[in-house]
């Protein structure tokens, strides 16, 4: 396959960036998108140019590290996959592909296609956990009965890998699907109920402080989420938040 890549290049966080065009040839349809970028970077290095910086880690679709806004969609045109699991067979010979970083005020660009998603970490630190007694008296989690439906829903919410595709794709750069998944994951289980009130208030407060936009229920996040996190979680978070606010 012969392709034209239009890639966002930006030297550092403070520099102005711009789209730079790179022609690329001999791309196999079975290559992953990141392997295609590896080939481009090899060529750039051979020419003595600066390679394109992009995030990646496990390349198995589970770590949430790879990002990229490809041809106007988070993680590209395929559904239910991260960029590392996106294959070049999704494109045609002769295509022009726009490759941009995830865009949001709360996800500032560090370099080229690499963005700082530590705002997600700070939201997690604000309440995305349960406090466990580790003094040796810990009760086996399996001794507490959990409704099967709740266990399934909690597990589905826990599938969120925190990649930020929801923010990147949302026209408002809202992080509600991410925060809702984290809130739901614990709120549905007895172990998480104990701190549920503080958790939702603190996580939403941190989310707002980070400068994410407001959710307007377009549903784009659910469609683009590589892990299929449902909008149902946002409705649950709204309920949790309003009832926590009234309690508090």
């Amino acid at each position: 396959m012969k392709l034209t890549l239009k890639i966002w290049r930006q030297k550092n966080a403070a520099a102005e960036g711009k789209i730079v065009e790179y022609p690329i040839d001999h791309i196999e349809p079975d290559m992953s998108f990141l392997e295609m970028l590896d080939i481009l970077n090899d060529e750039l290095i051979m020419k003595g140019d600066e390679p394109v910086a992009f995030d990646h880690d496990c390349r198995e679709g589970i770590c949430g590290m790879c990002s990229l806004y490809i041809n106007g969609e988070a993680h590209g045109p395929d559904r239910g996959v991260t960029t590392c699991q996106l294959h070049m067979r999704m494109f045609k010979d002769g295509d022009t592909i726009f490759i941009e970083p995830f865009r949001a005020k709360a996800f500032p660009v560090i370099k080229d296609l690499v963005v700082d998603r530590s705002s997600f970490d700070r939201i997690q630190h604000a309440g995305g956990f349960i406090s466990v007694n580790t003094s040796g008296n810990t009760i086996d989690a399996n001794t507490i009965p959990v409704n099967k439906k709740d266990a399934d829903d909690a597990f589905d919410a826990a599938a969120c890998i925190g990649c930020g595709a929801c923010v990147a794709t949302c026209k408002n750069s809202s992080a509600m699907l991410f925060v809702a998944a984290k809130v739901s994951q614990y709120a549905l289980l007895p172990q998480g109920r104990i701190e549920a009130t503080d958790r939702v208030l603190n996580m939403v407060s941190q989310m707002d402080a980070e400068g994410f936009g407001n959710c307007t229920n377009t549903g784009a996040c659910e469609v683009e989420c590589p892990k299929g996190i449902s909008l149902e979680n946002i409705a649950r978070m709204n309920r949790e938040y309003m009832s926590a606010s009234l309690k508090g």
Binding site: S173, S205, G211, N214, C215, S245
Partner: protein
């Protein structure tokens, strides 16, 4: 939690938008049913309009609540839109919004502003003259004037055309707004039934208003 923090929170604003939207949809439905009577009976339309225009509860309790609801919904919508735009200072060079969301859901501010412009025109056409008639000129009660006042406004093809266009945009606003409000207030599951009812509401009510406008335009 401090009350000020609650009012500032993104979720509280979203819930407030949804509740005011649901309230306005209720108002819209009752306005539609009253207008629809004008197609069948001039007298029924006149007597309901007279009741709505002179009942103290409607005039001095419900009407101010409605005006506050309208103003709140629009101001909050505009404020949130500015905030949301600020959350992405650099736009994408290529964005394919149609791949994952409906046009109506992405353009609520556009459809909303058209509806706002229409409401201003509607106030200028009906509400302001009504207030002048009743409270400035203090005219005597006339139960028979409402039908003719309304049909007179639908004589102009330009005004009738603008009226119809506004309602098409309102239909798009409701297409997303109905089920979205249920999602925002945390409805346990925005079921297929709710969504279908929302789509039906978004078509029947605005296009019903359009039918009424065209009916009077071509019959009077």
């Amino acid at each position: 939690m401090a009350k000020s923090a609650l009012l500032k929170s993104s979720i509280a604003k979203k819930v407030a938008m949804a509740l005011s939207g649901l309230f306005l949809m209720l108002f819209l439905a009752q306005h539609f049913f009253i207008n629809m009577t004008s197609v069948f009976s001039e007298n029924t339309f006149n007597s309901i309009s007279h009741f709505m225009g002179n009942n103290p509860l409607v005039q001095f309790v419900i009407q101010p609540i409605l005006i506050v609801g309208v103003v709140f919904h629009f101001i909050m919508g505009i404020v949130l839109d500015f905030k949301n735009r600020a959350a992405r200072p650099i736009a994408y060079a290529k964005n394919n919004g149609a791949a994952n969301s409906s046009w109506a859901s992405r353009n609520m501010i556009i459809t909303g502003l058209v509806v706002l412009a229409f409401i201003i025109l509607h106030f200028y056409d009906f509400w302001v003259p009504e207030m002048v008639y009743k409270y400035v000129e203090v005219n005597s009660l006339d139960e028979t004037r409402y039908f003719h006042e309304m049909t007179a406004k639908f004589e102009s093809p330009v005004r009738t055309g603008l009226y119809c266009l506004s309602f098409v945009l309102l239909a798009l606003h409701l297409w997303h707004g109905f089920s979205s409000s249920f999602q925002s207030v945390g409805a346990r599951r925005v079921s297929l039934g709710t969504q279908k009812f929302g789509y039906a509401f978004a078509i029947i009510i605005p296009f019903g208003f359009i039918f009424i406008a065209l009916f009077h335009h071509f019959n009077h």
